[in-house]
């Protein structure tokens, strides 16, 4: 009932130490970034005026492309079949790289690898597979097994082993080491520690990263089609070369549907796996 009076207390805010140098570092960072962008823009010939001047060409291209050609026998059915091939390349490229990626991840993680030499060797292998782009692997395998999806699968297995192995090794290093240490004090061997503590601790993140790589690999296998590894990429390439832009639009729409479906599926599974 009674009117209460609040005494508002204020206290002196001490000045932040080295405030001036913070402004200096910010200024230098901005100057460096701006310089880098000027160089990059010049080197890539990035000029908006050129884009506007060439808008006519794009218009001609688009008027050729629309309306899209949805003819079942000549366009849509082959596009669906080829998209399925692209999906299978992405699927096999992901799953068949699991054994090698798992082995190299365990050996290439500081927390689970028992031996320094083995650790460095595994890291070097992972770096090699990661550094060589999947397109280069595809070109190499095409010379061995010929044009077609098989070369694409082999290429993805190699590249994905490097990327997924590295991601998994990092997940292992970041995980809680406690349970592994606990089993170590109970007399478990390193292999037993890995099987009963390290790996169960990271199952969730491993599955998440696997699904993420599946997502990426399906899109990569599209590009691999352009260099002759089969699938929808090959059809898109053929449409462009024979100026059938209306068919190309249909093929891209089919790919869009595939990408959305894969994305939804992996989001759904990730939600179920997360604990």
């Amino acid at each position: 009932m009674s009117q209460q009076t609040f005494e508002i207390r204020r206290s002196h805010v001490p000045p932040r130490p080295r405030a001036v140098s913070r402004w200096t570092t910010a200024g230098i960072s901005i100057a460096v970034l701006v310089t880098l962008h000027v160089v990059a823009l010049r080197d890539t010939g990035f000029r908006i005026s050129e884009l506007i001047a060439g808008a006519e060409g794009m218009g001609a291209f688009l008027s050729d492309a629309f309306p899209a050609d949805f003819d079942w026998d000549t366009v849509l059915a082959p596009a669906l079949a080829a998209t399925a091939t692209t999906l299978w390349i992405g699927l096999l490229g992901t799953t068949l790289s699991i054994p090698a990626a798992l082995l190299l991840a365990v050996l290439g993680s500081r927390t689970t690898s028992g031996n320094k030499v083995v650790y460095q060797l595994a890291r070097a292998l992972l770096s090699f597979f990661r550094a060589v782009p999947d397109v280069v692997f595809a070109l190499i395998f095409v010379t061995a097994v010929g044009l077609g999806p098989f070369a694409g699968v082999l290429a993805l297995i190699c590249h994905n082993t490097g990327v997924m192995g590295k991601l998994w090794a990092e997940a292992l290093e970041e995980s809680d080491q406690g349970p592994q240490q606990a089993l170590g004090t109970a007399g478990a061997t390193r292999l037993q520690q890995v099987m009963h503590a390290s790996l169960p601790m990271v199952t969730g993140s491993f599955v998440g990263l696997l699904l993420y790589r599946f997502d990426v690999n399906v899109r990569s296998s599209l590009v691999l089609g352009l260099v002759g590894a089969g699938g929808i990429g090959l059809l898109i390439n053929q449409s462009i070369k024979s100026f059938q832009f209306d068919a190309m639009v249909t093929q891209i729409l089919v790919v869009l549907v595939l990408i959305i479906l894969v994305d939804q599926l992996s989001a759904f599974i990730r939600k179920r796996v997360a604990v």
């Binding site: 240490q181 606990a182 004090t185 109970a186 292999l191 037993q192």
Partner: protein
């Protein structure tokens, strides 16, 4: 038999010394553990209690000193023979360290890994019936049998710590080292775990050593106390000898600062 056991210490630690760089954290620490008793390690943060336990467990390597289990010096062993010789010593941690994605029973079975052969122990699928029954009995002993198939990640802190004790039992431990086993638990759960440790010493004839932060828990559940001050043993004797003056000295501001 029991009288004999209690005359001869199962674990004897002699002249343990350890330093990190220039800072000497343990000076000449001597103590022994006997079956059938709970020994509480008391002292302020940085007094060397946890380091002592870690040296015994092999998680830290002491600069000098001996750790004798059944009279055998563990410091002279290495690799596989050390792993086997250490098997009768189990450890329980403040952070519990169960695998949350595995069931309580699977976590308890994992305590036996040290005596299982390589190929039979790569997956819980290969844990045999006998092992599972032994693990179940351990869960029963700690009062967690009804939660055997629950994922460890779904247990409360006190329940999880009791499962961790069951894992130590499944390891067939003779010595149980507990590093702040109740520091992360609420008071009721802490009491339960302390009662359990006390009963394991007195009923199952284990040698239990526990680093504790609360002297009153030591008074109620431990038989002996070892008080550390700046890396030296300041008190070693029955818990009844923990006078107020001694407790103040162990936890004084000066000790923490030094």
């Amino acid at each position: 038999m029991r009288a004999l056991d209690q005359d001869y210490p199962i674990l004897r630690v002699g002249s343990l010394a350890k330093s990190y760089g220039d800072r000497k954290v343990l000076h000449d620490v001597d103590f022994s553990l006997h079956r059938g008793e709970v020994v509480a390690f008391l002292g302020a943060n940085g007094s060397g209690k946890s380091t002592t336990l870690k040296c015994v467990m092999g998680l830290e390597t002491p600069d000098s000193g001996s750790v004798r289990l059944h009279g055998r010096d563990l410091q002279t062993l290495s690799g596989r023979s050390l792993r086997i010789a250490r098997r009768p010593i189990a450890m329980v941690f403040q952070k519990i360290h169960l695998v949350p994605r595995r069931t309580a029973l699977e976590n308890v079975c994992a305590g036996a890994l040290g005596r299982l052969s390589g190929s039979a122990s790569v997956s819980p699928l290969f844990f045999g019936r006998e092992l599972q029954e032994e693990a179940m009995a351990a869960l029963q002993r700690v009062g967690m049998a009804d939660r055997a198939h629950e994922l460890a990640g779904r247990l409360s802190g006190g329940q999880a710590q009791r499962v961790a004790v069951a894992r130590a039992l499944c390891q067939r431990a003779e010595v149980l080292l507990a590093d702040e086993p109740v520091s992360a638990l609420d008071p009721a759960a802490a009491e339960e775990v302390m009662i359990l440790l006390h009963d394991l010493a007195h009923e199952e004839n284990l040698a239990v050593a526990a680093v504790l932060h609360q002297p009153d828990l030591a008074l109620r559940y431990a038989d002996r106390a070892i008080g550390l001050l700046n890396g030296r043993i300041e008190y070693s004797g029955p818990v009844q000898g923990l006078t107020n003056g001694l407790r103040e000295r162990l936890y004084s501001a000066k000790a923490v600062a030094a």
